[in-house]
Subunit: 348 residues, 4 copies
């Protein structure tokens, strides 16, 4: 048996942090050696997350105490604005990094600063970073030292569009609409009235109607793949009363004669994590709960031959966050694609 | 005090039936004198619905036993295909009817038969029926003997569009997309695997992707209000893991220079049941839970000036079913608009 | 029509506050003239609670701005420790008060201070206060200037026990166990990780295992009704993943020959808000959702003739808080018992 | 690598069936070679359970078509009454069986027939069967050909009591009360009004108050471990609005001087699937979601020194059903205890 690499997690007290811990607990090639949290330093992981009792005997440390520079890979599961300050020192020491925050996702610094409302601390690292949508950038990820793990909405929307955009099949000048629905865990594990069970439960609403931060991220992907499509893009996120899961309903116009189902099947033929279902299928979020999967279907709208409808589901915490981060790590280190990612979805 | 009218409810064991009973229990002008159910004949309403203990001492009767012809108004809360067979005899005796099923909603009998998969038993009654979208057809409803209470999706989608269509402001040739989300009570109170808590809970999915029965109903309304719009209409319903509530996100194109917010405010200025919220607002379903309200906002899409977004919420069992039925009855009998409909939404 | 009394609500931004506003909106004898909130002063009620748009045009004021002393009745819907400081000045001006917090519930000041961890600011007011369990203290409430509205658990547990204790039928020396389950709204509308949908949803747990503040409150009631019973009392609260609703399962031992079902029926024969169901019934929380009701059943344990089981349900925000507060006000002012409390439960 | 054993699942379309498929999909020593369903014969597993797309390429067969006799082990995930008819033929051919239904759990045939309302078809098999509470009967299970997998409530209640009963520490003549709460998946995947999201959601109630079938099963375990305890046993199950999870709150009396926490820790010191938490802990169901774990704590009741309180949680579908079945198989075949059972709980 080969030695395991050492992994560190910065900011491991949130939902993406505990999800990384869950997934890595069965990874054959990785040992988590450091978890940091400023607020919980000194607390054991097992006390903080009773679900991990008996699995980890780690204790949260401050970032200073933790010997992150001795890790082979460090995951940042931190709020936006942390990794851009802390990653460069680790990069300088040769540590490879997967950042689950938004710090390195947007190449245009001015755009990032506008949407995230702060000055970027390390534009050089942005330039160096590879956008970690695995099915789009696999080769670059393999060689990358710094991977910017995509947002959940961008993953759910971009994966089904990727093959069509690559093939240049979207019709210019027509609207491209992504009506997206997310479980509440997307809001993270922080005290907030809006995420209370009594506020978000038994309720449905749109949010971010004035512009959500994942809008420029998706537009960047669109622009990089097919000219003239990003301008027509509309994105409305909604909050749905469930814990995990994300559903994108995408309304699009394709060039005449396009057979999108075939394009998607061909593109994802050998992808273990993207499942192209038959036209007419309605993928449901629970069919990917806890698993690093995206399930997709595409069909014409009933009663309007000009509009195509994509349905796309992911678990926002797995393929939309921690799972894709592990997938990125697997690519970076040459591990098996599905190492640590073999669990079947939890249903019901 | 004037005498109360007598109301009967046919098929009162479902969710729209129990909701009618709840709303009518505080109606100052109505006394429910007959409730029918073939399967539960002989059972008391209070035993069947413990929530109504102490409120009703009625017993379910078979339709034959119940003296429905002595009622002033009869509500049909039955599956599709029942009212078209049973309503004509009551109409002949002068009883006024509000049908909550789909039997009399579609004027084109061929279209109805295609979508509902059966032969229509009383085309004459269809011709006579008034489509009971109260804010659209108030005068006709007042004079009607037979009102076809609209479906939940058609109510939620049509109310915000109505003023814009009346004003002829929708742009032809462009898609009009209604991405709708419904709580599970829309599926009714029948044993069905798909509606189990363990199937529909903590899950989100589209359904009816090949064509939902509310599609022709909405198209009929669109066609009646502005030419050339129905063809571009796209409708995708989704199931969201909550009990009550419906949310429509409508993507539309308006003629240049349209000020839709002003048009909606003007149109609904004196409507007690349609609430036009400020642009930028995100109405949430719980803000109408249990109440006969539709809350609406309209704004331009962030990042795409050509697309407008309507957000519209109702309680599918109230304004989307039983509440609108009571509202129709109030109009038919000249009662106060808000009689029986004054309860504030239940929040949280 | 007689003039309405003026009511004020202190601390109206929480769940009991908005519930008071909902219930009072249909009360024939009351007009809410002042609502206070330090944090939201200047915000309109309708902006803060969109469910109340079109119903109230009040604006939150600071306690100083609001002319509370001109109210006939003031409800305190504040955290513990507020009313004891602010109520005395209003009492001195003749205002009648219903306090929904715990400040005046416990007669023994030392016990209160121990459990609530602060010095009591107005022991005199405690002495003057009447414990507002309506079905127990109706006469005293009618004459009271200050009513201490009971806690939710004490209401749910005490109502079914009250007739048995009054009749002296509980067996001494045997355990009296209340295993209670509450919806999450009992934790209030404050940002707290433990009440997030992602923490409290799809989860069940006990809490307060080391001693919950409602324990001494229930013991005080037990002691006042039958000697020697409080010592055997055991209380374990649990959190259940729903918004509203409380269920108590009480295990008790009765003197030989007791017919508890008859005692309960007789005691509550003319009580509009306590519903004694048949033995064998299993009252469910949704059967009282939104209504000022307590439904009860009592039966022997299957397989153990010595143990009796009481099942008791309330809506924690209504009969367990705001509804009982309105009921107390109705008694204090001689209004009809059910004024403002006539709504049928919301089901489903 | 050693060859894998062949496993069959009879009745694999329910929740315990799909859970077996999930768990066995990562088992290093097992290959599922046959799944049967009379109603779904001919349907592929992946079509029926989209969560298993890409994991299994099995097709449901009728029991006759499936070559179950060629399996090394067959799991019965069938309704009560099926295994007792079908298991004997397989036993005769040397197949080892784990039955997840209740057919072989109760040794006293008369008791079984009374509670299950049918004549038992194979009393001989009952005599041969080993009750598969792994931590109680490990040696017998290892040698067994037929294992009766325990019910969910019996597992959740018996595991924490087992060490105390073995040590003879329960006090006779005093009540032993198990107040239990289950997620809705315990009711299985069958169309039933009571399990609809709109009936069971946002609701809490007791059920089976007149006697639940798991009562005699628990009593049998109690009787086998300590004399005179079963008579005082009281069991009340409740339905809680969540999918997975079970919580038992057990009220008990112990002999003076007992240190139950120490007894439990000692007993379960080397058990990988029972986690004794510190007194004062409140184990929550989500801390075991998806995992084959039982977490326990025990402490004295606040305010009543005579009563002890056990809190015990399992995932009813895992340690309460399919997980324990896999654990039984592991013991029977000498596999590693945690083979196929290594997944960390899914949280949130």
């Amino acid at each position: 048996m080969t030695a395991k690499i050492k992994a560190g997690i910065v900011g491991a007290t949130g939902y993406t942090g505990v999800e990384l811990l869950r997934l890595l607990s069965t990874h054959p090639n990785v040992k988590v050696t450091a978890v940091t949290s400023r607020s919980e330093a000194g607390t054991s992981v097992a006390d903080y997350f009773p679900s991990l009792r008996g699995i980890y005997d780690l204790v949260f440390q401050t970032p200073d105490e933790a010997a992150l520079e001795q890790c082979d890979v460090v995951f940042f599961a931190t709020p936006n604005g942390v990794a851009m300050n802390e990653a460069p020192a680790l990069l300088a020491k040769g540590v490879r990094i997967v950042d689950l925050s938004a710090d390195f996702r947007i190449k245009d610094i001015a755009v990032w600063e506008q949407w995230y409302g702060m000055k970027h601390a390390s534009p050089d690292a942005v330039a160096q970073a590879v956008y970690g949508l695995c099915e789009m950038n696999r080769e670059h990820i393999a060689a990358a030292q710094l991977v910017a793990n995509p947002g959940c909405y961008p993953t759910c929307v971009s994966l089904p569009l990727l093959p069509l955009l690559r093939a240049g099949r979207l019709q210019k000048g027509m609207p491209l609409i992504a009506d997206c629905k997310s479980g509440v865990s997307g809001a993270g594990r922080k005290a907030s009235v809006g995420s209370l069970l009594c506020e978000a439960g038994d309720n449905f609403k749109a949010y971010g109607i004035g512009g959500h931060r994942h809008l420029p991220e998706i537009k960047q992907t669109l622009s990089s793949l097919q000219d003239g499509i990003a301008d027509g893009f509309v994105f409305v996120p909604h909050l749905t009363p469930m814990i995990r899961g994300m559903h994108a309903t995408v309304y699009l116009h394709l060039e005449d004669g396009t057979r999108p189902d075939e394009i998607l099947r061909e593109f994802y033929r050998s992808s273990p994590f993207v499942d192209v279902m038959n036209p007419g299928s309605t993928p449901e979020t629970r069919s990917v709960r806890g698993a690093n999967l995206c399930r997709i279907s595409i069909q014409k709208a009933a009663g309007n031959e000009n509009v195509w409808i994509i349905l796309s589901v992911i678990d926002n915490l797995v393929k939309g966050a921690a799972g894709q981060a592990v997938q990125n790590m697997n690519i970076m280190f040459g591990f098996a694609d599905n190492a640590g990612l073999q669990q079947a979805p939890l249903l019901p």
